[in-house]
């Protein structure tokens, strides 16, 4: 084979550009993860996981628990709508019907809306119009709208992946449409749906801008869903904003990053298993 590179300076240049680009991409990610881990792990101490948040001890434990509650509440609100919508789109609607087109366009629009706009809307609607102020509930409602398109899209894809022969066999045995959906189609599509749910959890855990003005920044465990709370990502922002607690910020960033990386890894694994 002729060494084309030597005779074509342009090709050599492009080749070098590609190598630089890929090294930059992977390098910056490795650097980011490595830097935060190296700087953060020495700052992780048992006190940071104390149950109480005080000004002396900026414990992240309440924020971790709040993140869990926020994630659960958001999913409880978003899942029925996301999965129901996907069922309607795949199992009931004719693909050419105008409703399907409008639902697709609006879901696409929703997924492009910046999180700060969601936050401002949540503040205006749930915080002010509904009178929930800064609360877990307004935060969860806002996030539920934010992850709705993610759940819809992944569930839709999972349902489309279920072979029609499954449905036909079920009908053939005399099952109704509803029974077929709940007993045959949904269980077969479950891995895909779970991958989508995990993806949404990643979004919820990492979200900051949409929560600042909806769930607020109170750093203790709420006594009801109408109390203000601070998730881990908001906790990191608050620590940085005050500028006094860099060590705690490093430790928080490590925990947040590791959790999100694990969540994404899990989601990818499930999705890959499906593709096989």
């Amino acid at each position: 084979m002729i060494k084309t590179k030597d005779r074509h300076p342009m090709s050599m240049f492009l080749n070098i550009c590609m190598k630089i680009a890929i090294i930059f991409t992977v390098g910056i990610l490795a650097f980011l993860i490595g830097y935060i881990l190296i700087m953060g792990i020495p700052n992780i101490s048992p006190e940071l996981f104390a149950w109480e948040f005080t000004t002396d001890n900026q414990s992240m434990m309440p924020a971790i628990i709040n993140t869990l509650i926020m994630t659960l509440l958001t999913l409880v609100i978003a899942l029925p709508f996301g999965i129901g919508a996907a069922i309607y789109l795949v199992e009931y609607a004719r693909q050419s019907s105008p409703i399907v087109k409008i639902v697709r366009i609006t879901a696409e629009t929703l997924s492009g809306v910046p999180s700060i706009v969601f936050g401002l809307f949540g503040f205006l609607m749930f915080g002010i119009a509904f009178g929930w102020n800064y609360s877990l509930m307004s935060g969860a409602m806002t996030l539920a709208i934010m992850v709705l398109p993610v759940i819809m899209r992944t569930t839709e894809e999972a349902l489309l992946g279920v072979p029609d022969s499954y449905r036909e066999a079920s009908f053939g045995l005399g099952a109704g449409k509803l029974r077929t959906i709940f007993r045959i189609t949904l269980p077969s599509a479950m891995p895909g749906i779970i991958a989508g749910v995990i993806l949404s959890i990643g979004r919820i855990v990492g979200e900051t801008a949409a929560l600042l003005f909806t769930a607020g920044t109170v750093a203790s465990i709420p006594s009801s869903v109408f109390d203000s709370t601070r998730t881990l990502a908001v906790h990191l922002y608050a620590l940085l904003n005050e500028g006094l607690y860099m060590e705690q910020a490093y430790a928080t960033a490590v925990v947040l990053m590791v959790v999100v990386i694990l969540i994404n890894w899990l989601s990818n694994r499930i999705a890959k298993k499906l593709a096989k």
């Binding site: 084309t4 074509h8 090709s11 492009l14 550009c17 590609m18 680009a21 890929i22 991409t25 992977v26 990610l29 650097f31 935060i36 700087m39 029925p80 709508f81 129901g84 919508a85 069922i87 309607y88 009931y92 409008i102 639902v103 366009i105 609006t106 879901a107 696409e108 929703l110 492009g112 809306v113 910046p114 999180s115 700060i116 706009v117 401002l120 809307f121 503040f123 205006l124 609607m125 119009a129 709705l148 819809m152 509803l178 990492g206 900051t208 801008a209 600042l212 003005f213 990191l236 922002y237 940085l240 860099m246 910020a249 960033a253 947040l256 990053m257 999100v260 990386i261 994404n264 890894w265």
Partner: protein, 286 residues
């Protein structure tokens, strides 16, 4: 009797599914409604021209001009595109044609991971790594247009790489083979035959990247400096529309608050326009 009850249940559930399908439509309508109802009166009160083209943002004196923020958002986004798009395209071409299986198995999950890292962590990284580095290299505060552009450029990389990669893979193999047969090198065939053929997919990726960059908040607010003036160099501080809202919403009231909501309305309109061009491009790519 049993059958009719079953039929009734089927009908009811079909209706329930239809209602859930309406959720996203209702959400978009309600979001538009709340933003416009709360924001548009403020724009009227301030004056469309004064609001959109006003050079000064002085909430204490009730002067609300958001031109510096609009320009700031456009500059920062343009900077992110200038940095992110070439790196993204080169990386995508490499992933499609020039790397072996082993490298691909490492790089592809890395890119996916990059998309999953929360923006607040990127902002933190920018604050503790890029800002001090720029302080020593260029002097000054280290926060500004260049810092924000670089950080956003990094953040949009996974978006650009995955969209460009899939559109490159959609180009028929014989384009590339034909070019090779005519004596072009592998690089020439990819960059001058396959890449142009994937043009609309690449543009869709860029449009998606623009949408990400212009809407990004938490990372930008930490590294941009946030001065509400039009920057006169790439090192001076800049405030975007998103950071304007985040910085002041916490304590604003009255007309000030409405002016911030109106800022979000302007941002929202920008996003809708970008999304529209994205879906148009995607349709052409399909």
């Amino acid at each position: 009797m049993e059958i009719s009850r079953n039929q009734f249940k089927e009908k009811i559930m079909k209706l329930v599914f239809l209602v859930t399908a309406m959720a996203s439509i209702i959400a978009v309508i309600v979001i538009c409604g709340f933003l416009f109802v709360n924001g548009v009166p403020a724009i009227k009160e301030i004056g469309v021209k004064e609001f959109l083209l006003g050079m000064e943002w002085l909430p204490m004196q009730e002067i609300f001009g958001i031109l510096p923020m609009i320009v700031g958002s456009i500059y920062v986004t343009a900077g992110a595109i200038i940095i992110g798009v070439p790196i993204g395209i080169f990386s995508a071409v490499y992933l499609v044609r020039f790397c072996n299986e082993k490298v691909y198995k490492i790089v592809k999950p890395a890119v996916e991971l990059m998309a999953g890292i929360p923006s607040i962590v990127y902002g933190f990284f920018g604050l503790v790594v890029i800002v001090p580095a720029f302080q020593t290299i260029f002097g000054g505060s280290g926060k500004g247009l260049l810092t924000a552009s670089l950080l956003l450029g990094i953040m949009i990389l996974p978006t650009i790489i995955s969209v460009v990669e899939s559109s490159l893979r959609a180009v028929p193999e014989h384009y590339y083979e034909g070019a090779l047969a005519l004596g072009a090198t592998r690089e020439r065939s990819m960059f001058f035959v396959t890449l142009p053929a994937a043009k609309s997919g690449v543009l869709a990726g860029v449009a998606l990247g623009i949408g990400r960059a212009i809407g990004e908040t938490m990372a930008v607010v930490m590294v941009a400096g946030n001065q509400p003036i039009i920057p006169d160099s790439i090192l001076s501080g800049v405030r975007t529309m998103t950071s304007n809202v985040v910085l002041e919403m916490g304590y604003a009231s009255g007309l000030h608050r409405e002016a911030l909501i109106a800022t979000a309305v302007v941002l929202f309109v920008f996003i809708l326009l970008i999304n529209l061009s994205f879906s148009a491009l995607k349709r052409r790519a399909d």
